[in-house]
């Protein structure tokens, strides 16, 4: 009781402090003031210092990949090229509708499970995760596309009705396109933001602190390397916005990845305001870099890590709980479509939990083994055809237990 009380005082005190430091406050009299702009706008010599084109490029490539996965005129090779931006034998490929992506040397695959904190010395797991996505893409073509005009039944891939829509699932009821889409939210967006760009090992790498302190700019650029790293984290969340400097107005409708689901969580009354608080933390952290206050920067990074981890966990529970409601009351095979769609999204979000970041341990909230156990709970036996409400509640409970939200809050 006592400790909770103290905790709330701290929170109240913290938020008072936070509100009051929206504008100019001298953090340290010897240092420059921290100037927090109203929007995510930072300039030097009248020119913007914000850049995250690499991130928007990858969001764009991933967007094309996902929509191609349910376009059954695409070949397996074509889909793989969209994942790798290379041909399967490693030469130049031009798989995208958007030519700027074709000209880019970047790819989705190269940044999957590729963060400094989690994977730089764990390349075997990184390779396993990269290969998971590849296997889902290949299976979409080999198993699902091949059965495009068949009914899905236990053990057989095909289509199944979800309301008036047709969903295309594998033999276990999983939509591979959803696995890739929601899996990338963790393996690409979350991992790059939390475990890479907001990590001191990246922000403070090499001479970044010295250069930032002396406003030494990156070669040919108008930003310091540290500023840029922070902006790259920002770009994976807000980069696809029409007005990325002021992204809250359109939060949730700017991409089909992390932005979209931050928007969804933000529109749940239980979590209202989470979008703005993450945006504010990005803004204040960036201002702190300009003001050379690295402690303040790290506090904001911690807020972002905590909150974005929570967003993915909330969505995982949300879909598992919705799947529970959508499970058919009769045993009619054709009535599973709505539940399968929820389960497929849930599968991707559960997979994404591996890339969450617990600031107390510096590790994921869920170990590889824990995530694998949940995934195999969902897919064992006949997979989604055998799923039970009890199982979905058990997994939901495992997830929610690590955070300060309830299954009910996440599930509505």
């Amino acid at each position: 009781m006592k400790s909770h009380f103290a905790g709330s005082i701290l929170i109240i005190f913290g938020s008072l402090f936070f509100i009051s430091c929206e504008k100019n406050i001298p953090i340290d009299p010897d240092r420059s003031e921290i100037i927090v702009p109203d929007s995510y706008t930072f300039v030097r010599d009248g020119q913007s210092t914000v850049s995250f084109s690499g991130q928007t490029t990858r969001i764009g490539m991933a967007t094309e990949l996902i929509s191609a996965m349910t376009d059954f005129s695409k070949t397996e090779t074509g889909l793989l090229e969209m994942y790798m931006n290379k041909t399967v034998d490693g030469s130049e490929a031009n798989p995208y509708a958007n030519d700027a992506y074709n000209e880019s040397s970047k790819s989705v695959k190269s940044k999957v499970a590729a963060s400094a904190d989690f994977f730089s010395a764990n390349t075997s797991e990184s390779a396993t995760i990269k290969a998971d996505f590849e296997s889902w893409i290949i299976a979409q073509s080999k198993e699902v596309s091949a059965n495009e005009n068949e009914f899905a039944t236990p053990g057989n891939a095909g289509q199944i009705a979800d309301g008036s829509s047709a969903r295309y699932v594998n033999a276990q009821g999983l939509e591979y396109d959803q696995a890739v889409n929601k899996g990338l939210i963790g393996a690409l967006m979350l991992d790059q933001i939390l475990n890479n760009y907001l990590s001191p090992s990246v922000l403070d790498a090499g001479q970044n602190i010295e250069e930032n302190n002396s406003s030494t700019l990156a070669d040919g650029k108008n930003y310091t390397t540290m500023e840029h790293k922070w902006d790259e984290a920002y770009g994976y969340l807000f980069g696809f916005s029409d007005s990325p400097e002021d992204p809250i107005a359109t939060l949730g409708s700017d991409d089909n990845f992390l932005n979209k689901y931050l928007g969804r969580v933000d529109s749940d009354d239980d979590f209202a305001g989470i979008g703005l608080s993450i945006f504010n933390a990005f803004k204040l952290g960036r201002a702190a870099i300009v003001g050379q206050d690295y402690e303040l920067r790290n506090e904001q990074a911690a807020t972002i890590k905590q909150e974005l981890s929570k967003v993915v966990a909330i969505r995982a529970v949300y879909y598992l709980q919705h799947a529970k409601l959508a499970l058919p009351t009769n045993q009619d095979d054709s009535a599973y479509g709505s539940a399968f769609h929820d389960l497929s999204e849930g599968f991707g979000f559960v997979y994404s939990l591996r890339f969450t970041h617990d600031i107390t341990s510096g590790l994921s909230y869920f170990s590889t083994d824990e995530v694998n156990a949940m995934i195999s709970d969902l897919t064992e036996g006949r997979g989604f055809w055998d799923i039970t409400p009890e199982k979905l509640d058990a997994i939901s409970k495992t997830i929610a237990a690590k955070f300060n939200f309830t299954i009910e809050q996440a599930g509505d």
């Binding site: 495009e148 009914f151 289509q159 047709a166 969903r167 009619d332």
Partner: protein, 377 residues
Amino acid sequence: MKHIAISKVFIHSFLILIAISYSSCTNEEDCCSPKTPKDSSFDREAMLTQWAENMIIPAFEDYSSALKDLAVAQDNFAADPSADQLAAMRDDYINAYLAWQSVSLFDIGRAESIALRNKSNIFPTSEEKIAANIESSDYNLELPSNFVAQGLPAIDYLLYGIADEDADILNILSEPNYELYLATLINRLDVITDDVLTDWKDNYKAEFISNQASSATGSIDKLVNDAIFYYEKFLRAGKIGIPAGVFSGNTIMAAIEAPYSGIYSKEFFDEGLNSFQNFFNGTSVTGRPDSQSLRHYLDYLGAEKDGVLLSELINDQLNKARTAAIELSGDLQNQIYKDNSKMLNTYDELQKAVVLLKVDMLQALNIKVDFVDADGD
């Protein structure tokens, strides 16, 4: 041991505390609005009988008979592909589409298990899929991916939209593969509707009426949920909200119901709204006086909101929606193009009734919502 005993006492008193606070809450509710239903003396059987015998079965009979007329008209057209026969076929098609508006909300029993609505009225239809099916002649209309290539919307396209000029439509529909596809679609509607109607008469009616349980699987809970789902998704959103851009922010003219014939879209909406309100009031298709429906049930329970009978509030609001729709052009596509704000006004009036129906009415009837809003992805 002692420790356990203490915690048991603690838990007990805690539970009692919860129980006390809980009961005081419910008492408070009881004192102000008579929301506790389940007065077993309301004749639930009479209501279910009224629904089945005087509303649902007659509506399916009308629709089925309209489809049979359409099938005959299609046969006549096949024998004599003339402008007159095309006109006759179109008339019968419009009558069938109008009659459909009175059965759509009864998505229960056989209609639900065979997905009648998915096979009858999913729009916008897919010109591309229709063309591919006609081209290949190897297709399976049972597949979910073919919901958008069959039913009344696909027939609308074939009869009105496959070419700009009627003379060209006539020529195209005389081609054997087009004629066959049109005949297939019409016969299929006839067959699946007969299937539902026959099942109502021979089996389901008895089951439906006897299933008076007040639970998620009881007939009343299920059909009331189906009706509200229909109101929200197919009437409010499908016919008005989606084409008016309420959900996407952009108007989608191609998303109106029956866009190729065009001029009937408003009439179809009106008919859908009337059917819903008739269901609420127990107005039978056969013209008998209103009896035993949700309005009566709510009045019986004395359900009020802010001192006014809930049934009156609901009827008033549905009437307001109808009044707002009077302003709309017969061709909703035209209305969206000219002045979408009138579509939005109609939507707003429809939306106001959702709260009364889904929150106030369901609470009064002690019925749980059995559908969840899909998040649209």
